[in-house]
């Protein structure tokens, strides 16, 4: 009996020890993150005002702003969005619903998962060779958007496949049993039911792309841009123009990098403010992803 008691006491003690250790580790991680955010906020908040959002970068730190950077981020992201989403979703559907399960598709699957882990600068090198030198796209919005599109493509593919795989076989069979073709099943059932999971994956992909710096520097993005890309719409015919795709650009993280690398303290404040904007962007995207996932879970329970 006594032996048993001491045995139980020891187990309880071990439990408590681990609980304490776990709390410590968690708190340490969170504290580091919080400290970082607080520092950024303290440094940057004072610089955030209308002037900061609507000014071009300047030699004078107090007159400099991030207009060209956030507009650049928006246009580059729109190119990324337009490439990664159709390609990623189509590839995901193909691999999950159409492809025969053989060694070839197996190899492709494994490599897509690997691709998601390739360092982003490698994508930059690939893009430099392919997009900039071979296709002569230059250091343009288009080249940057495509680079980031390729970078996050695996995320979209994997998210699409997982969302499709979560749909029970019975639902597919129900559709096929009514005489639906594969495409009708995908279009009327699988895609709508997977849309929550796909949307979450897409948003996570975008929030990854938004902060990427290395591949864009690799393809030669400029760090000082004091103009905006030409407008996609114009008052005179043909009204729409794609010239903005070929414009030079900068993006928020590159602008931040540029300011951080200056010696003057005032520019560091600008960098902190830019970082704050970037983090707010990213966190809002992630929050959106969580909301979508939560609402889909509530709507569709398998």
């Amino acid at each position: 009996m006594r032996e048993m008691d001491s045995y139980i006491a020891r187990s309880l003690w071990q439990d408590r020890m681990f609980a304490c250790l776990g709390v410590l580790c968690t708190v340490f991680g969170l504290a580091a993150l919080c400290a970082l955010l607080v520092k950024l906020a303290l440094d940057g908040a004072s610089r955030i005002d209308w002037q900061f959002f609507f000014s071009y970068p300047s030699r004078h730190a107090s007159r400099a702003g991030i207009l060209s950077a956030w507009v650049g981020t928006l246009v580059v992201m729109s190119v990324t969005f337009c490439t990664a989403i159709p390609l990623g979703i189509a590839a995901g559907i193909y691999l999950e619903e159409y492809a025969r399960k053989n060694w070839l598709t197996h190899i492709i699957e494994v490599n897509i998962a690997n691709l998601a882990g390739v360092p982003s600068i490698i994508f930059g090198l690939m893009a430099l060779g392919l997009l900039v030198y071979l296709l002569h796209l230059g250091q343009s919005v288009l080249a940057a958007g495509l680079t980031l599109g390729f970078l996050v493509l695996p995320i979209v593919i994997v998210a699409t496949r997982e969302a499709l795989r979560a749909i029970p076989t019975e639902i597919r069979e129900a559709s096929y049993a009514l005489g639906a073709s594969k495409w009708q099943t995908v279009w009327h059932h699988l895609l709508p039911y997977a849309s929550g999971g796909i949307a979450t994956g897409v948003i996570i992909a975008m929030s990854r792309a938004i902060g990427e710096t290395a591949p864009l520097i690799t393809i030669g993005a400029l760090t000082f841009i004091a103009f905006l890309p030409p407008s996609p719409v114009s008052p005179s015919p043909p009204f729409l123009s794609l010239d903005w795709l070929h414009s030079a650009f900068t993006v928020l993280p590159i602008q931040m990098f540029n300011w951080v690398s200056r010696p003057q303290q005032e520019f560091h404040l600008n960098a902190a403010a830019t970082g704050l904007v970037l983090i707010v962007f990213t966190l809002s995207l992630n929050a959106l992803a969580i909301i979508i996932r939560y609402r889909m879970r509530r709507r569709i329970k398998w």
Partner: protein, 291 residues
Amino acid sequence: MADKLSRATLVKPSSRMAAKAHLEPVENLFMNPEAAPAGHVCKASVRNLNFFYGNNQVLKSVSLDFYQNRVTALIGPSGCGKTTLLRCFNRMHDLYPHTRYEGEIILYPDGINIIHPDTNPLEMRLRIGMVFQKPNPFPKSIFENVAFGLRLRGVRGSLLQDKVEAALNAAALWEETKDRLRESAYKLSGGQQQRLCIARALAADPEILLFDEPTSALDPVATARIEELIISLKSRVTIIIVTHNMQQAGRLSDFTGFLYLGELIEFDRTATMFTTPAHPMTQDYLTGRFG
């Protein structure tokens, strides 16, 4: 009409049966491909059907007929191939790799071989409906669940509305759902969901309706409603139902096929098989000695 057939003409004398090898299927008039019994029209004939999952042969030279506007039950112990046989009719196996059919399933009146490689599975699925073991409504509205099969066939507008209503009526679900057609099908109870699945399959007016243990996931009250419904559907569709519940087979079906290890052991009128099974295996199964 069916009753005119006396039992004696259908089943060979059991004295001859007893001498038969243990697993040898029982020959009787219904297993004779040449003619349907008086008053019966053959809707589908399975002939020497073999089915393989990879190298695993799951159906072994199965031959039997299904009669129009009759309920035929397929019974047998778990794993004997009932579901596999049922899913041959709408070519569900084509959805998965490494499956192979041999033999024929002739669909009448046009005499098309359902499992012939040149026969389009989509056509078969448009003509033969299926209700699954677990209710599997789409995560859409009640209306859209029933409408899907109709939309696939190009039905639009007010005709679509009418046909959805008719199908829900036929599935004895209209009264419960007419005020909530736009609500999600997931808000229905299990039994209602299964009736919705029946309505969904009925909407497109199938020639044959396949049921794979449709009540195994339901409580007794819901089961009774589905059984009633199946009996009421006989007049409009030929029904094949897989069940592991022998009482259910007895209550619902006109004919019963007993499968064991992928072979059809016996096929007969349900009333006959349940009172005087011709094969000792059938007797053992019906009396609960195995299964």
